[in-house]
């Protein structure tokens, strides 16, 4: 009888929360999450379903430094006003800390929630051993591609009009590998790593994007005449992937010629496929041409998560706390996040409201040449959302 009792109770015990293996599994999962170095196993982690409880999504929010916190309050304000069913899990990271425990928490949270909206995280520690937190975040979550859609706003006065370029940038490799050493006092070497796998993934993403969005041309930006092996590998890989998409034109351009062409004639570009550093340069040039750092939002995609942020990744500490930062970039990023989660109506309402505010109402913050404050812009956006959604929910 004792044996029968044991047999019937055994499966129950095994699946209960008190069984030792339950705890063992849990801790080993957190050990995987703790590895901040690029380890092959981090890429192959299991997909965690998006955190949706009671019909409301949860998203991680990283205010970061500089103008981050104030812009995040604007996002929360707009979401609450529009009745968006998204809750935020806010995590702050102390810029002066040297350890990475807070970053571990952030990474676990993003893995759990699946989406994150973030400002630029400051790393104020002067020690050279501490890596930039933004870069560590991207490489741990394997956010291998960053998409930046630079589109002119007709209401913003710029030298070039009608720009519409998408920059697809490799987000983890390249010059941002953070592998540096001082071999001899006074001589520092920094390694730039290019891998076929990452180059192929980003090239394929670029061509798939072009195909899905009806774009005609992909331009690869490189410097393979000087860095023959590394950028040569990137270029070769994109040429190889281009053969699989014969309906899309592919050409390549050297990065210094590209920056010159961007300034003289940005309309010749459609989709750009770049490595990490060149992507940073090209996206900043394009954001400048379109009207500044406060307008465009960027999306980082990875294995199982997506991180949304303002396109130019600045902290803008000079204008922090003065209520003059342009909230359009962060609000655009929040709208992108809603689209990713499937709330298409809310996303298009917010985007349309921002467009109308900038183009028709011309409520511009100082960086666009206007005199309004951030709050006034946000109030106008909310007013527009109310009109678009029919004056009530």
């Amino acid at each position: 009888m004792a044996i029968r009792l044991r047999e019937s109770l055994w499966p129950l015990l095994k699946t209960s929360k008190c069984w030792p293996t339950y705890f063992v599994r849990k801790t080993s999962m957190s050990a995987k999450n703790n590895s901040l170095h690029k380890h092959p196993s981090t890429k192959r982690s299991e997909a965690i379903p998006a955190a949706k409880y009671g019909g409301r999504h949860t998203a991680t929010m990283l205010p970061g430094g500089g103008i981050g916190p104030e812009l995040m309050t604007h996002v929360k304000e707009v979401f609450r006003f529009a009745g968006v069913p998204v809750d935020f899990e806010t995590i702050s990271i102390d810029p002066r800390s040297t350890g990475n425990e807070e970053l571990d928490d952030v990474i676990t949270s993003i893995r759990r929630n699946g989406v994150c909206i973030k400002g630029n995280i400051e790393t104020k520690s002067l020690s050279t051993g501490v890596h930039s937190r933004n870069v560590v975040l991207r490489s741990s979550l394997d956010l291998f591609v960053s998409v930046l859609h630079c589109k002119s706003y007709p209401g913003v006065v710029c030298r070039h009009k009608g720009i519409d370029v998408v920059v697809i940038r490799q987000n983890t490799d390249g010059e941002y590998s953070m592998l540096e050493h001082e071999s001899v006092p006074g001589v520092v070497e920094s390694l730039k790593i290019i891998t076929t796998e990452n180059a192929e993934r980003v090239a394929r993403y670029a061509f798939e994007y072009a195909k899905d969005h009806g774009r005609r041309k992909v331009t690869t930006v490189h410097k393979a005449n000087i860095m023959k092996l590394s950028d040569g590998l990137f270029l070769e890989t994109s040429r190889r992937v281009a053969k699989d998409y014969p309906e899309i034109d592919h050409n390549d351009m050297i990065v210094d010629n590209c920056s010159m062409q961007l300034v003289m004639n940005p309309h010749q570009f459609d989709v750009m496929n770049t490595t990490n550093l060149y992507g940073a340069i090209v996206s900043n040039i394009l954001c400048g041409l379109v009207g500044g750092a406060g307008l465009i939002s960027g999306i980082n995609y990875g294995g199982h998560s997506a991180v949304f942020e303002p396109g130019t990744r600045t902290t803008a500490s000079r204008i922090a706390g003065k209520n003059i930062a342009n909230p359009a970039a962060m609000l655009n990023a929040s709208a992108d996040m809603l689209k990713h989660l499937g709330y298409n109506q809310h996303a298009s309402n917010i985007k349309k409201a921002i467009e109308l505010t900038i183009n028709e109402d011309r409520i511009h913050t100082p960086d666009l040449g206007g005199t309004y404050s951030s709050e006034e812009v946000v109030h106008n956006v909310m007013r527009r959302i109310e009109k678009l959604s029919g004056g009530g929910h």
Binding site: G186, V188, S190, I193
Partner: protein, 355 residues
């Protein structure tokens, strides 16, 4: 005359490589390929019209096979530049394949040219969307990302090494501050990405800061590369002189050239340990070579930079003014500026203004 001679000796603060006499100076001329020969001829004609006391020594840098079987610059060319210490170079074509290194890089290595100076100024009369550009980019020319050290670690993973040394950074920082002071410019901005590449760009920044302490009257600031790109295309007037490592310098100097109208109008100078080489940075344009359609402005303005380096400031000023005036008047403009004049007509008009 004696007073003039003494003033010249006293005011000059340059090393012993400078010759103080008022004799004719010899300068090496490398005509280059494609449109090189015709624009070099144009420049020589203009200098003769202005009666500049310079004697040209033309050399050919087409690589020849050396005794060890490797292709290299002919010894005659190397000797010439080492002797004269100053050179003017037209556009060179690097043949693809055939085991050549880039010829431009080879020249740079050979003559130890450590700093590249590119002044970009909006030309009156040739309007672009930017009218208030007056920026000088100074770029470290020997190391950084262009060190050429690359390896394939495993199949599918390649690494490229970016080398930053204290000596080179300090050298270019010293040059940048000296240039800013001598040319009476107010602000020097160091461009870097030390938030990501903390050790390498950090070292570069540290050297700049150390040198900045020796020049208290020059305003020094540091900016991230992203911010500079963003601000430059919105408002170029906020920048004065920029100093940066190799790759950023390459990109930013071409960006600034694009703001003023392209590579066909920008001069460029390379300063080395024992001499300087001034060049035009555009390509060889083989499609218009020999047709008298080329625009010699870039090489001419590089020649003007060379004259300033050689302390022949009066001649430099006259030739520069003549050139700007002809471009402003719009009657004699070459094809790339939107006009229909030939290279020879443009050259003759400048000569006419000088005599």
């Amino acid at each position: 005359m004696a007073a003039q001679f003494i003033r010249k000796v006293v005011s000059s603060s340059l090393p012993l490589t400078r010759n103080y006499s008022a004799e004719v100076k010899k300068v090496t001329l490398i005509p280059g390929d494609g449109i090189g020969p015709e624009i070099s001829a144009a420049v020589q004609k203009i200098f003769a019209a202005a009666k500049v006391p310079i004697e040209w020594e033309s050399v050919d840098v087409t690589p020849v096979r050396g005794p060890d079987g490797m292709f290299g610059i002919p010894q005659a060319a190397i000797d010439s530049v080492n002797k004269n210490k100053v050179g003017l170079k037209g556009p060179l074509m690097t043949p693809v394949g055939k085991g050549h290194r880039s010829l431009n890089l080879a020249l740079r290595k050979e003559f130890n040219l450590y700093a590249n100076v590119r002044p970009c100024r909006s030309l009156e009369g040739y309007e672009t969307l930017y009218n208030d550009v007056n920026v000088v980019t100074i770029r470290e020319n020997t190391e950084g990302e262009y060190s050429g050290i690359e390896h394939e670690i495993v199949d599918g993973v390649v690494q490229s090494i970016k080398l930053i040394t204290e000596d080179a950074s300090r050298r270019v920082a010293e040059f940048a501050f000296k240039y800013t002071k001598e040319n009476k410019r107010s602000k020097l901005t160091a461009v870097h990405k030390a938030n990501i590449m903390r050790m390498s760009d950090g070292l570069f920044l540290r050297c700049c800061r150390e040198v900045a302490e020796k020049y208290p009257d020059v305003k020094f600031e540091e900016k991230y590369l992203d911010t500079v790109c963003l601000s430059m295309v919105q408002d170029p007037s906020q920048f004065d002189v920029l100093v940066m490592p190799n790759l950023y310098g390459d990109i930013l100097s071409d960006l600034c050239a694009g703001l003023v109208g392209g590579l066909g109008l920008t001069p460029s100078g390379n300063v080395g340990l024992n001499g300087a080489l001034f060049e035009s940075v555009h390509g060889t344009a083989p499609d218009i070579a020999g047709k008298d359609l080329a625009n010699p402005t870039a090489l001419l303005l590089s020649g003007v930079m060379m004259l300033r380096y050689m302390e022949l400031n009066d001649y430099a000023e006259r030739i520069q003014t003549a050139c700007y005036e002809v471009i402003k008047e719009k009657t004699y403009r070459t094809g790339d500026l939107g006009g229909k004049a030939k290279c020879s007509e443009f050259t003759d008009e400048i000569c006419r203004k000088l005599t």
